[in-house]
């Protein structure tokens, strides 16, 4: 039963990302969107936490990166950038969805 977790708040504004990663099982996926995308920026503390999350596939919403002026070369390795169609795809491909608000 692979879950899709979504995180939409900045890791330095809220504990949502931490809480999500504390509960995300290996084999699950995390989609960062809205302000949540700041977690995938190279060199950020949160990016470090993401790298440590064993067995979790990480996705970031491209439109939200672009909106905030984050180029894909500023994104840590191992993150798949998706668009809204990709977001929908992630929802349908996983057994269930949990939005961490």
């Amino acid at each position: 039963m692979a879950m899709l977790h979504t995180v939409n708040k900045s890791p330095s504004e809220r504990n949502t990302l931490d809480s999500c990663l504390n509960h995300a099982k290996s084999g699950s996926s995390v989609l960062l969107f809205e302000d949540g995308i700041y977690a995938v920026v190279k060199g950020s503390a949160a990016a470090g936490r993401l790298k440590e999350a064993a067995g979790v596939s990480v996705y970031a919403l491209g439109p939200d990166l672009k909106a905030r002026g984050i180029d894909e070369d500023q994104v840590i390795d191992g993150v798949t950038v998706v668009d809204y169609a990709g977001f929908v795809d992630l929802v349908t491909r996983h057994e269930n969805v949990q939005s961490w608000l």
């Binding site: 939409n8 439109p63 809204y84 929908v88 795809d89 929802v91 349908t92 969805v97 608000l101």
Partner: protein
């Protein structure tokens, strides 16, 4: 697939309403069914027809209304949350002695049961909030 969407925040204040709209649109464009969009908490504020946002930016309520019309969507505003925040249809306005109603085209006011029902009937329910 049959997808349901829950919108917990009002237009403009948070990106949730926009994200929910973009997700809904993408799902429809990709051949999925959106069985219901349920507006809760401040999300009910997406359903007022009296918003006059600046002309050079998106009109979120209007976007929802147009999408609803185009795809025959079921946009449901929670009655309890709506009453708290002053979103009324004609019946509600009459019932509560208010001078007018403000529900936007394509939206309808109904109970929380519609959210639960959406969760039961859809394959996936996605929540957009703060």
């Amino acid at each position: 697939m049959k997808l349901a969407v829950m919108v917990n925040e009002g237009p403009y204040q948070h990106q949730s309403a926009d994200s929910a709209y973009q997700f809904t649109k993408a799902a429809l464009d990709n051949g999925h069914e959106i069985s219901r969009v349920f507006f809760y908490h401040d999300g009910v504020n997406n359903g007022t027809r009296y918003g006059v946002p600046p002309q050079d930016d998106r009109n979120i309520t209007q976007l929802w209304s147009e999408l609803s019309k185009q795809h025959n969507l079921d946009l449901v505003v929670c009655v309890a949350a709506a009453q708290r925040r002053g979103i009324l249809d004609a019946d509600e306005a009459k019932r509560h002695g208010k001078s007018g109603d403000n529900i936007a085209d394509g939206f309808r006011i109904s109970g929380l049961g519609q959210l639960i029902e959406a969760g039961i009937q859809a394959d996936r329910l996605v929540v957009f909030g703060d």
